[in-house]
């Protein structure tokens, strides 16, 4: 008998037994020992001023408002041999969440093919990392569309950018689309609720959930089949880009992608977020990203 069949039988028996005699109740579980640390997210993009998200992690069962997790009192610098950029707090208004999102912003656009050093002074700790801004960009060949494809999350529509891999080096890619959405559309599985949008629309940046590498595809045409975050309307335009990531950024988002699956699927073994560039004091990445030229995509019906 196949494992899938055994699994389905097991699930069926468990659900049947639970429905007949089971009892579900909230319980309190002792909080495991935990030392708070920082999460740092920063991808330098040539030609763009640096943007860095800095949050603190919290014990799992602590009651907190996620808006309180942003670390405001950090001192952050990003430097090359030529200059030092002292980052300051900035914010954008997220019309979907109806709240301000805070981040640290630099002043000088990132220069390509440079080595950059990051220093974060926070909570009495100094966290450092380095990256190079020497990533190439790809050119999108074409954009395809399928009204149905199946991945490990289920069946979805899919947007499919085609492009050629950069040969003879390890590359990592991700998809993004910029477009307008309004409250008549769905976000993930639910209706898009946002009193801040009103009857109008808002520009959103959708970043693909999965990251890809070019193992066994060096120099070949690649395609990324992406589930859009929002539902679409016929004729709606979107600007699609393919991001080239460095390895540290790829590794971090690859872990997030796998862990997200484990959070929603009880049959998936947990993914531990490993200490990366920052050691045990912080999670995250300080890397580089480039974006292809945008290609216009019109949603078909």
């Amino acid at each position: 008998m196949r494992i899938e069949n055994i699994k389905n039988i097991c699930i069926g028996l468990v659900l049947l037994t639970i429905s007949v005699s089971g009892c579900v109740k909230d319980i309190s579980i002792p909080q495991p020992d935990y030392t708070e640390r920082a999460t740092i997210q920063c991808s330098l993009e040539p030609g763009v001023v640096p943007k860095l998200y800095l949050y603190k992690t919290v014990p799992y069962f602590d009651v907190v408002d996620t808006r309180e997790l942003f670390i405001k009192d950090a001192i952050i610098t990003i430097s090359t041999d030529d200059y030092t950029d002292n980052l300051v707090i900035d914010s954008t208004y997220n019309y979907i969440k109806c709240e301000y999102e805070y981040f640290f912003r630099g002043f000088f656009p990132v220069i390509p093919n440079k080595k950059y050093n990051l220093t974060v002074l926070s909570n009495g700790k100094t966290i450092t990392a380095a990256t190079n801004t020497n990533l190439p960009t790809v050119i999108i060949d074409s954009i395809g569309y399928t009204d149905q494809f199946k991945d490990i999350y289920g069946e979805h529509e899919g947007v499919i950018p085609y492009f050629h891999d950069i040969p003879n080096q390890s590359n990592y890619y991700r998809y993004e689309m910029t477009r307008e959405v309004d409250t008549t559309m769905k976000y993930r599985e639910g209706k898009l609720h946002s009193p801040c949008i009103g009857a109008g629309s808002v520009t959103v940046l959708e970043i693909g959930r999965s990251v890809y590498n070019d193992i066994n595809a060096s120099g070949e045409q690649m395609r990324l089949i992406i589930e859009p975050s929002y539902s679409h309307k016929e004729g709606l335009p979107g600007q699609i880009r393919v991001e080239t990531l460095d390895k540290v950024t790829y590794d971090f988002f690859n872990q997030l992608d796998k862990q997200k699956l484990g959070q929603t699927n009880p049959f998936v073994e947990p993914i531990f977020l490993t200490n990366g560039q920052f050691g045990k004091d912080a999670l995250g990445y300080f890397g580089c990203i480039t974006r292809s030229a945008p290609v216009l995509f019109i949603f078909p019906e």
């Binding site: 009892c23 109740k25 949050y55 992690t57 069962f61 997030l256 049959f267 999670l283």
Partner: protein
């Protein structure tokens, strides 16, 4: 297929040695495993009712229990050994003191043991078993150890008979590819395990019996921290789990009392002497909600994590009729 030879050698009136060799042979596809497993038990009698036993045992096992480490559905999988999955092997050392009282009416023992285990198997982080899973690539291999002390007492005769056992033990595993290479508790590591079973003869026909079980909850992996990730409103946005160690939390302890009354009578049916028995019982008599599994969820209003426990089988009364002829 297995071969086994054993012999008992009485060295003196007080000292005896039982030694043997077990040779299991296991075929799996093109791969054949054969082992020699020596075992020896040395018994030293201190007096007619007291003895000390020490043993050394090597064992191999060709089935591997691969438990899930999440707090969710208990979906353990058994795998057989093959070319990639080597048989588990263990070496166990034990020493015990055995003493009887009241003309062997009461038996008691206390035993210490230590066991080393190799070629243990678990799933790698992030493994999702489905139809297309290459199991060989999804497995991680490591070692384990277990040690503990067992107490046992048994009453053989009289109106009241029964036994009680208590084990204090610890079982851990260590895998290079899991838990940052650090040691962690085995899923079924149970620190305390207590069982009491008794039967009391109320009258010549009626008897009462009770079984009580208590053991520590199994281990599962609970996130220790939450990490908030924000990436321009993308699908990555959200709360992620910061795990610090594997199997770092426990289900609540399990305990249960079962009771039963039995009425046995000799009767005549169809001209023959027969025995009939009415049995009245109750499983989980105080209807304890023992944990079956725990899962984590997020409160839709407060957006805070919650743990939910699923329990099965409350009190279940039973009645049965047995007829022997």
């Amino acid at each position: 297929m297995a071969y086994y030879i054993s012999d008992e050698l009485k060295m003196t009136d007080l000292l005896s040695v039982t030694y043997g060799l077990h040779i299991p042979v296991f075929f799996s596809g093109n791969k054949t495993y054969a082992f020699t497993e020596p075992r020896i038990i040395v018994k030293f009698s201190l007096n007619p009712v007291t003895s000390i036993k020490a043993s050394y045992t090597q064992m191999n096992q060709f089935m591997h229990l691969v438990p899930n480490s999440t707090a969710s559905l208990p979906t353990d999988i058994w795998l057989t050994s093959n070319a990639k999955i080597k048989p588990q092997n263990s070496t166990q050392y034990a020493i015990g003191l055995f003493k009887n009282f009241k003309n062997n009416e009461i038996e008691t023992s206390v035993e210490l043991y230590y066991k080393n285990m190799n070629n243990q198997v678990l799933f790698k982080e992030g493994t999702q078993i489905d139809l297309n899973t290459n199991l060989d690539a999804a497995l991680a291999f490591g070692d384990g150890k277990s040690y503990g002390i067992e107490f046992f007492v048994k009453k053989n005769y009289g109106k009241l008979t029964g036994w009680a056992s208590y084990t204090l033990s610890k079982t851990t595993q260590k895998f290079p590819d899991l838990n940052y290479g650090k040691e962690f508790p085995f899923t079924y590591d149970r620190r305390h395990n207590l069982s009491i079973a008794g039967s009391y003869e109320l009258t010549k026909t009626w008897s009462f019996s009770a079984d009580f079980t208590f053991y520590s909850g199994i281990a599962f992996t609970l996130p220790a921290g939450r990490a908030f990730i924000n990436d321009d409103g993308s699908l990555y946005d959200g709360i992620y789990y910061d795990y610090t160690s594997r199997n770092n939390s426990r289900l609540r302890p399990y305990n249960r009392l079962d009771i039963g009354f039995s009425n046995v009578k000799k009767v005549k049916r169809f001209g023959k002497s027969c025995q009939r028995e009415w049995a009245f019982g109750a499983y989980n008599v105080y209807s304890r909600q023992n944990p079956y599994f725990v899962y984590l969820t997020t409160d839709p209003t407060t957006k805070q994590p919650q743990a939910k426990q699923v329990s099965l089988l409350p009190i279940i009364p039973s009645i049965s009729y047995n007829f022997k002829f």
